[in-house]
């Protein structure tokens, strides 16, 4: 019964994604694509935040590495589109593997600080290396493959990749590996007592999220046809953190809702005022003071019978 209702929702979601381009203007289609990409980024990020209990402050680095890999390959080599897209998450995963190797031994604030330090190193290298990455000018005017030249084609491409990515993440979380991560989050000491290799799992999941961050990065680079060092900046790292928390980090779909909300709020508010950060700060304060489980977490909690609430 439950699994059937899940499939209904999946079906509805896919139909909505398929129909949207017929209803939306070019601008809103672009906004929807941005939301989808950020949703993928946030859901994958939540694999370490919500499911494993690691607070990374440097995930924008892997997002940016993916975007830059694609941008550099597509402007400097004649390699095929498929290869360029494929190599972006590979770079993201490699970078995450190296960073993760050093970081996973630390916990809590120290883990967050070390991921921040590494991401700032990546950021500074990209920002300063004018000869190779264009420095703060970024790389603009990325060539668009003919097959994705129209806005609708690009949208469908992004939507398909995001859907596939989310499906993979869903499978991953509901696999023995996913349940092991949950165990580590609940109590890493006890899970090591029952024979779980905690650090290896932490490294693997960190690398996986790096790959997905890279994938989100390449999609974003394709959508906007440009890349900038700000893609690696720690403000993006905190933004994805906010998305996960706003939606609810203990739920699968929460981060996606958070990503949609943050993207929409930023767009709406920034059309009225330059000072959109002040509104973001009020939203954050609201989460922290009244909505610590996030939107989805709070709603699902309310739907439970009273005796099951925590």
């Amino acid at each position: 019964m439950k699994s059937r209702s899940h499939w209904v929702w999946v079906f509805v979601g896919i139909v909505v994604l398929a129909v949207l381009p017929l209803l939306l203007s070019k601008f809103y289609l672009h906004l929807t694509s941005t939301m989808l990409i950020m949703a993928l980024f946030a859901i994958s990020f939540n694999l370490i935040l919500g499911y494993t209990g690691m607070t990374s402050f440097g995930h924008a680095a892997f997002f940016g590495m993916g975007a830059y890999t694609y941008a550099l390959l597509s402007t400097k080599t004649g390699w095929s589109l498929a290869l360029n897209i494929f190599l972006a998450p590979v770079t993201g995963a490699l970078a995450a593997l190296i960073v993760g190797y050093f970081c996973i031994r630390l916990h809590g604030i120290l883990f967050a600080m070390l991921t921040l330090a590494f991401s700032q190193i990546f950021y500074t290298v990209i920002f300063q290396w004018y000869g190779f990455t264009g420095g703060d000018n970024g790389i603009v005017g990325l060539p668009t493959p003919e097959i994705l030249a129209s806005d609708k084609a690009l949208y469908y491409f992004i939507a398909a990749i995001v859907t596939a990515g989310v499906a993979i993440l869903w499978r991953l979380i509901h696999s023995p590996f996913g349940y092991t991560l949950w165990t580590i989050r609940e109590n890493s000491l006890r899970s090591s007592f029952i024979g779980v290799e905690v650090n290896r799992h932490r490294l693997i999941v960190f690398t996986i999220t790096g790959a997905f961050a890279g994938l989100a990065g390449v999609l974003f680079a394709m959508l906007d046809r440009q890349v900038f060092p700000s893609y690696l900046h720690w403000s993006l790292s905190t933004e994805v953190l906010i998305m996960s928390l706003l939606g609810g980090m203990l739920t699968f779909g929460g981060p996606a809702l958070g990503a949609i909300m943050v993207t929409l709020i930023r767009y709406w508010i920034s059309t009225y005022t330059l000072y959109w950060m002040i509104f973001l700060s009020f939203i954050l304060l609201f989460i922290v003071l009244f909505l610590q489980k996030g939107v989805v977490g709070t709603v699902t909690e309310r739907m439970k019978p009273p005796e099951l609430r925590t």
Binding site: T55, L106, I109, L110, A117, I121, L285, V288
Partner: protein
């Protein structure tokens, strides 16, 4: 440049420049220490990573600008503002602790982090709204606006003032923490919170006052920085990141660690700019990454402290 040329150090700039740069670096270290020691103190006693510390520093600088340039119009304005601006920031810190932070002590650590991050966002737009996006400058007070000749070296008098003031402030903070009952109870809380409160320490009062002291020093650093360069709405982020590096290198919650960390970061930055300007920005992160990998608890931190678990 061949190997022997490299060994002869002839590639280095002349020694007068090196000494000037060293003094600039130490000046910067003094300001960094003011901020980082407050950050470290709050972290040690309250267990809260105060992201908003850099923002309080920034607002302190802006407030100092308004007080010294507009409120009073005589030669004493600098000194009046130097006293008032940090006190105002301590008050702001007290309000933040009482009405916001206090409500999330029981929650997961990430909630406290998010709350202070929300304050970062708030203040960053707040100063743009109140003082505008343009860069502001404050004139130096009479007597400190000139240059001082120390042998061959020419050095701004204002920097010398900070070089002299830094150790005085550090000593005051040390006396408060290590030679008063207040400081002793604060350190007791940092060491074992539950035991301290079981023994009758008024924990909520100490939390508020420690947070206010930290914010006072952030405001003081902001006020002291204001006449050295321009006041910008983005000065919060760079300083908070650097202060974190200082705290991580020195050891979280350690007073002397904050001083050593500040000296390392300040001097490394000054020479980094001189020798390899392009990588000066990244060098402090490399140092921090190395320290975190080899000694996660920092140079003088407690390896068994609550933060390394």
């Amino acid at each position: 440049m061949d190997f022997w040329q490299f060994l002869s150090f002839s590639w280095l700039p002349p020694s007068t420049i090196l000494i000037t740069q060293l003094m600039n670096g130490v000046t910067r270290s003094m300001l960094l220490f003011l901020i980082a020691s407050g950050l470290s103190l709050i972290l040690g006693v309250l267990g809260v990573v105060n992201f908003a510390h850099g923002s309080l520093y920034m607002v302190g600088a802006y407030l100092f600008y308004s007080l010294s340039m507009h409120l009073v119009h005589d030669s004493s304005s600098f000194w009046v503002a130097l006293i008032l601006a940090p006190i105002a920031m301590a008050m702001a810190g007290g309000l933040i602790e009482l009405f916001l932070l206090r409500r999330v002590y029981g929650a997961e650590g990430i909630m406290q982090l998010l709350l202070t991050y929300a304050l970062v966002l708030f203040f960053s737009d707040f100063v743009r709204l109140v003082w505008g996006p343009q860069y502001l400058a404050v004139t130096r007070p009479k007597g400190l606006d000139g240059a001082v000749f120390l042998g061959k070296i020419i050095f701004p008098a204002y920097n010398l003032f900070i070089l002299a003031l830094g150790p005085v402030v550090a000593l005051t903070l040390w006396l408060i923490l290590y030679r008063t009952k207040f400081g002793k109870t604060a350190r007791a809380i940092a060491y074992d919170r539950e035991m301290a409160s079981a023994l009758g320490v008024n924990v909520p009062f100490l939390y508020t006052s420690i947070f206010m002291i930290g914010c006072y020093f952030a405001g003081l650093a902001g006020a002291l920085t204001a006449p050295m360069g321009s006041i910008t709405p983005i000065m919060d982020i760079s300083i908070i990141v650097e202060s974190f590096v200082v705290v991580v290198i020195g050891g979280m919650g350690s007073f002397w660690g904050a001083l050593i960390g500040a000296l390392i970061v300040g001097v490394a930055h000054a020479f980094g700019i001189l020798i390899l300007p392009r990588i000066a920005m990244v060098s402090i992160f490399v140092v921090m990454a190395i320290v975190l990998i080899l000694r996660p608890w920092g140079l003088l931190g407690n390896p068994l402290g609550p933060l390394t678990k």
